[in-house]
């Protein structure tokens, strides 16, 4: 299992793509927002939590189609499916590798981009916390979407269409935590809901992803 994780991480670093691109995309989205809504700092600080959450979500989405496609093309997915490791574990590892290479850097970069958008000071802590809890769910859900569309030649756009509705609950609760945190309101309820969703998706969704992958490998 650890060998698989290390292999995926190495591939992600060497191929360069997913790792840097996601971050760069996040940066560009954040920079473009003031151009589109105007430079008033009061407006920016109001919408900053939502924009940062949306940017992180889109950056996460961007790297999903590479999640399984490379392994599918060179046939290593078939090898993994026949390996002694259960497929549920394989997809969990894949999701973890995706989170480590995409989700975690986004979480770490978010506070710096928050500065650009005038995020209120108490908001930084809650932004990082909410992203830290929310991004694993995005990776796991994204793995499910990638597994659904892995056999398709032009799956990228379809993948977005399938995955985005599934991101709704995570986005709502995550952005709510960040927003409430930024305005000094209590954050416990949405934080618990966000944590609950993440825990449930990590626990249950790999079974669906593995089932879908088995169908696609048939």
């Amino acid at each position: 299992m650890i060998a698989l994780l290390l292999r995926d991480l190495k591939l992600a670093f060497r191929a360069g793509g997913g790792f840097g691109l996601g971050l760069a995309f996040f940066l560009i989205v954040t920079v473009l927002v003031p151009f589109s809504v105007g430079p008033q700092s009061s407006l920016l600080s109001t919408i900053a939590p939502g924009i940062l959450w949306l940017g992180a979500l889109l950056a996460c989405l961007l790297s999903l189609d590479r999640l399984l496609a490379l392994d599918w093309e060179d046939g290593s997915l078939d090898l993994l499916a026949t390996a002694p490791l259960p497929l549920e574990a394989v997809v969990s590892i894949k999701a973890l590798a995706h989170w480590l290479t995409t989700g975690l850097p986004l979480v770490l970069a978010a506070p710096f981009l928050g500065v650009l958008l005038n995020l209120p000071v108490p908001g930084f802590f809650w932004l990082v916390i909410s992203l830290l809890i929310g991004t694993p769910a995005m990776s796991v859900i994204g793995t499910f979407g990638a597994a659904l569309t892995v056999g398709l030649k032009r799956g990228g756009l379809l993948l977005s269409l399938l995955v985005l509705p599934l991101y709704v609950p995570t986005l709502i609760f995550g952005a709510e935590v960040a927003r409430r945190g930024a305005t000094g309101m209590e954050t416990q309820t949405p934080l618990l809901m966000l944590g609950g969703i993440t825990a449930a998706t990590i626990a249950l969704l790999p079974f669906a992803s593995a089932a879908v992958l088995r169908i696609n490998l048939r």
């Binding site: 609950p169 709502i172 409430r180 309820t189 949405p190 048939r218």
Partner: protein, 257 residues
């Protein structure tokens, strides 16, 4: 004993031939009865019900809005059940029925959204408000779109049936989650009841509050929509079964010839 007998008769329709023969027989009944219910219900509602003292004549939109919203949700439930039946018992008719129902669900959702927006314009002063109900329907619409797109994208019909069924199951859970999330999210924004929420509660969205004058034509319209839905799904399932048969025949032809 009786349950087993009943179950037996139901599963008989998993045979495509049997399904086609029976649906051919009962389809005219559904077409005609749904047409009668809809025509009578809509004319009754449109011409012979008084204006509401608060909403004026816009109350007449209820006869389209509520039944279509009802069917938009029930259609997804039906797809969920047929998807489960396909995954567990592998009856092709079941998977094809889910496929046939999805576009009907899309149209129902569209009608519910459109009539809601047109009703909201004079009543709330805006075409669109991010009210929990409206937002949930929009999300439901997105789920329908994804579901249909996945069906269209996959060539092999058995693989497509499997994948869309799993998507339907997972999607149902997330749609339900979104419903609660959206509820929470809007209350977080509005801090309790605002004019809009109050309008949504006392207005056309809850049928318990609708008085009897409006209720009977509404009931007729709802029955009409249910019958129309059944007719459409039966008919479209028949089409899907035939399309699948064409594919199978052509494949056999290629192999033998």
């Amino acid at each position: 004993m009786s349950i087993a007998a009943k179950a037996n008769t139901l599963w008989e329709y998993a045979n495509p031939r049997k399904f086609l023969a029976t649906s051919e027989r009962v389809l005219p009944v559904f077409w005609i009865s749904s047409a009668i219910c809809l025509v009578v219900g809509l004319i009754w509602g449109f011409f012979f019900t008084p204006d509401d003292y608060k909403q004026g004549s816009t109350v007449k939109i209820i006869y389209l809005h509520v039944p279509s919203a009802l069917m938009a949700i029930n259609c997804w439930l039906m797809m969920l059940v047929t998807s489960l039946v396909w995954l567990v018992r592998r009856h092709h008719v079941s998977a094809l029925a889910a496929r046939a129902a999805a576009p009907v669900g899309i149209v129902m959702t569209l009608i519910a959204l459109a009539t809601g927006a047109i009703w909201g314009q004079p009543m709330w002063g805006t075409w669109w408000a991010w009210d929990p109900r409206l937002t949930s329907f929009l999300i439901l619409f997105l789920f329908y779109l994804g579901y249909v797109a996945l069906w269209e994208a996959i060539e092999d019909s058995d693989t497509a049936a499997d994948l869309t069924s799993v998507l339907c199951l997972v999607g149902s859970v997330f749609a339900l989650l979104s419903r609660y999330a959206v509820n929470f999210w809007n209350q977080g924004l509005h801090q309790g009841a605002s004019v809009m929420r109050a309008a949504a509660v006392t207005g056309a969205d809850t049928e318990e509050k609708v008085s009897n004058i409006y209720f009977y034509p509404l009931l007729l319209c709802m029955i009409g929509f249910v019958l129309l839905f059944i007719a459409l799904v039966l008919y479209r399932t028949g089409t899907e079964i035939r399309a699948r048969r064409i594919k199978a025949l052509l494949a056999r032809e290629r192999v033998s010839g």
